[in-house]
């Protein structure tokens, strides 16, 4: 029984780990209504030795960008950024109100119950690139908890 638990724990960890040093958890994508062509993916990333998220892609989207959001003097601003620095050992939270992976030119509506495949490309401090594949479950369009959920 104990070994069974150990094995499943290992599989769980293996799903979101590249070179045992970048871990992605709590990934989710906001559902869309049929006429909507864009949505966002949110997650938490920890890079043990530091890294940089340099690109993302998904078969559900024609274009994928890394975005930063900021509230400046009561104005919400959203910008594409060339990459997202992941300081060593620090949990970087991609959530409503901070960063997200923007999925544009959607090929089909994103529905609750789906899992959206995502490829994330990380660059290590020694410029080695690794790609992580994961599947992010879809939460309701109306989900309001993302910005306030504790890591």
């Amino acid at each position: 029984m104990k070994s069974k638990i150990l094995v499943s724990a290992f599989l769980l960890v293996a799903a979101g780990v590249v070179d045992a040093q970048v871990t992605v958890s709590d990934a989710w994508v906001r559902a869309t209504v049929p006429a909507q062509r864009a949505t966002a993916a949110f997650m938490q990333i920890v890079a043990t030795d530091g890294a940089r998220l340099i690109s993302a892609s998904s078969p559900v989207a024609g274009t994928t960008e890394i975005h930063e959001m900021a509230m400046v003097d009561g104005v919400m601003k959203m910008r594409a950024i060339p990459g997202l620095d992941l300081p060593a050992g620090k949990t970087v939270v991609l959530s409503p109100g901070s960063y997200h992976v923007m999925l544009l030119d959607l090929k089909a509506p994103i529905r609750v119950g789906d899992a959206v495949p995502l490829s994330l490309v990380f660059e290590s401090p020694d410029k080695r690139r690794t790609t992580m594949e994961l599947k992010a479950p879809v939460r309701a369009l109306t989900d309001a908890s993302g910005g306030h959920r504790q890591p």
């Binding site: 906001r30 209504v33 049929p34 006429a35 909507q36 062509r37 864009a38 949505t39 966002a40 274009t63 960008e65 975005h67 959001m69 509230m71 009561g74 104005v75 919400m76 601003k77 959203m78 910008r79 594409a80 409503p96 109100g97 997200h100 923007m102 544009l104 369009l141 109306t142 989900d143 309001a144 993302g146 910005g147």
Partner: protein, 141 residues
């Protein structure tokens, strides 16, 4: 309740609409006294169909309003809503102010909510407003 935004906003706009839906729910039968209006600042991408699908996903009673570029500019100025199109990545995004206006049935502006106010706080504000709006002869009932 009136606010401005765009459906491609993955963040502030769905959160504000979700809060408005939650407020109506928490008000119970008084929720029917609240009309939520969401005005798009991005009429180019937010089509009529998209606005209808989007607002009713949060609450079927919500109204989505869309004008042309000139009408949108005019209404935003009237409500002192700041917005501007900013090229970003492959297309553009919108910077926009995120205040939520509350008007009473006589059309007077009564409240401004910031995005960080919770549904519970908003409900408490509305209950106070609704109480003060009751006619005098019903005050002690």
């Amino acid at each position: 309740m009136l606010f401005f935004g765009y459906t491609q906003c993955p963040d502030a706009c769905p959160t504000a609409l979700a809060r408005a839906a939650e407020v109506r729910k928490q008000l119970g039968s008084d929720g029917d006294k609240v009309q939520v209006v969401f005005v798009t600042l991005d009429p180019e991408r937010d089509t009529d169909v998209l606005m209808r699908e989007y607002t009713s996903a949060f609450d079927p009673s919500f109204l989505g309003l869309r004008g042309d570029q000139a009408a949108t500019r005019k209404v935003a100025e009237e409500f002192r809503v700041f917005y501007q199109r900013v090229p970003s990545g492959s297309s553009y995004t919108l910077d926009h102010s995120v205040l939520n206006y509350v008007f009473d049935p006589k059309g007077r502006l009564r409240l401004l909510w910031r995005p960080d106010e919770t549904a519970v706080q908003c409900v408490s504000d509305l209950r106070i407003l609704m109480k003060s709006e009751r006619p005098f002869w019903r005050f002690f009932s």
